[in-house]
Symmetry: C2
Subunit: 333 residues, 2 copies
DNA sequence: CTGAAAGCGCTAACAT
DNA sequence: ATGTTAGCGCTTTCAG
């Protein structure tokens, strides 16, 4: 392995000079600069960023913890964060927590040990204490954690917009179908928004919520919970509320499943039943699904903006809420 | 920031001893070990992995370059690689090349500078020379590059299986619809397999290939090429071949678009026209699409296996081909 | 069983 | 304009 020392010796200068040439610091005669660059070429030398980091105490690496990458929404998030990092000359160390709070803790410790410059977490934790004396700038997303800056989209508004969209396009008996309503979760806010909007419009509020420890993200591929799979739950719901003519789900995957299932049992979408999902990834586009769309790119760029500010010890908002919007497609009238 | 020196001083031992305790090397009296661990706790000390890497010359980081994360197939890949890395105690530095050969080059140089232990590339390059004197172990995926170990799925077989599936379920006039047939590309192999299988079965080979510099991955969200969008091309194809009763596309996104489009223009799937896509991500599952499915997890684990071997300077196969299979769903009979 | 000293590859005062 | 020296936080001989 070629080091700066090798270059210095071969070029007949000191390592400091080589360092100066490379970092464009101080003043160097054009002659030595040329010579150094030539030797660098000849030796095919590449500076060691790790060694540099050890001195500068900056790795230019951002750590990102998401529940899974293999999920349309988070793949969008990861893509956005990576692109934004790259354009600010940062690199991305990517971790998946698989919705495990313990894994998240281990990963954040690992990121600290690896001296990343900042961390973004789609957190599972309810307890902020591990991040209080964490030493590293952190931003949590899709959740508020006391004392930690957070960025969320307006989930309450999302639920409300969904109800409004359904009602405005003629649904008399809308229902929300989904899972997980832990206090303070994003699902819970979406549900609340939906409920309140129904009530405001004088429409009976209906829900079919599968209260499950496994959230959608853990096992979104199976969608199999409490020993009872999606089909069973869905049929059960239709039995309970046979006059259902509008369904809101707190994510797109479930909405897609429902779309398919309804067609299979001979109920037409959107004429018979309307569907509105949540997220706004490529999936909803390809399925022609009406959705509440999150401004993912803007969310991520806000997150990074805040993280970068925190890295410079600037004051940042303790919480930032981004507005959502409805994208109307073929699953609603 | 707490360093080993702080721990050593407070515990009244040398840094060597602290290092030994941490790495479980040499022999340490139970008493000092206890004392050191206690001090570490008290001081909330966390070893600096960067500094350690500088000595050990191992970062335990793997670099991965994919065209995009925001794509169902690659999000699956990234998820698989990350999980496999994590279970081998490696971390993942994720990069996107956006199908640019120059970006790929810059990224691979960056990864080398950051002293990752190995690199996995979904490469865009035709020229292997940058990776010949790269110093780092590399594995390329979905492409062969002379002199660089590669892992691919059997794209020819995939095309052939697609044709076979279509023909066996009654298609008399199958066609392949897609883009990019650059020599040696994976699409080209899929097309070749499809063509040969048609010929073997005495069926007229038909294709509608949009030969485009922009590959599917670059702009898969728009699917808009040569100033002519998907709809135009698709309608043009149906005009050219009105008796089409089976369509094979070299990816799932296109297949999904086609599925929707056919329904819109009143042609029923699979009764009127059958569709078979390629990849086998969550998308095909949700769209109830028959596909040629890649064994993504196995591919990724093979890639890592080879990479780890290369990192130990073991001999590895120059190329490994994995078999694909058809998953039958609702878009074929 | 423990410590002193050297050094990983680089940057940053401080000289000259 | 350039070199000398002293580290960054850690591991690793080599002594004792």
């Amino acid at each position: 392995m070629i080091t700066m020392k090798d270059v210095a010796e071969k070029a007949g200068v000191s390592v400091t000079t080589v360092s100066r040439v490379l970092n464009n610091r101080g003043s160097i005669s054009e002659k030595t600069r040329k010579k150094v660059f030539r030797t660098i070429e000849e030796l095919n030398y590449h500076p060691n960023e790790m060694a540099r980091s050890l001195m500068t105490k900056k790795t230019h690496i951002i750590g990102l913890i998401v529940p899974a990458v293999d999920h349309p929404y988070f793949s969008m998030v990861v893509d956005a964060v990576e692109s934004l990092c790259a354009s600010s000359n940062y690199k991305l160390l990517l971790c998946t927590s698989h919705n495990s709070s313990e894994k998240e803790l281990k990963l954040s410790a690992m990121l600290r040990a690896n001296k990343v410059d900042g961390v973004i977490i789609y957190s599972q934790k309810e307890d902020p204490s591990p991040y209080m004396d964490y030493e590293l700038p952190v931003v949590v997303v899709d959740k508020t954690l006391p004392g930690i800056p957070s960025v969320l989209s307006d989930n309450y508004q999302g639920g409300s917009l969904a109800a409004k969209a359904l009602i405005e396009s003629g649904s008399k008996h809308p229902i929300i179908f989904g899972f997980e309503s832990r206090k303070n979760s994003i699902s819970e806010r979406r549900i609340a928004g939906f409920r309140d909007e129904c009530i405001r419009n004088g429409i009976e509020y209906r829900e079919y919520i599968i209260d499950n420890e496994l959230s959608i993200n853990t096992d979104f591929k199976k969608l199999d919970f409490l020993g009872c799979d999606f089909d069973d739950h869905f049929i059960k719901m239709l039995d309970m509320y046979p006059d259902t003519d509008g369904i809101f789900t707190t994510n797109e995957i479930l909405a897609s499943k429902i779309l398919l299932k309804l067609e299979k049992i001979g109920r037409s979408v959107p004429d018979d039943v309307q569907i509105i999902g949540y997220d706004g990834t490529i999936l909803s586009e390809l399925m022609d699904l009406t959705v509440v769309s999150q401004p993912t790119l803007q969310i991520c760029s806000t997150v990074l903006e805040i993280l970068f500010k925190r890295m410079e010890n600037k004051i940042v908002p303790s919480s930032t809420i981004m507005p959502v919007s409805v994208i109307k497609r073929g699953s609603t009238k």
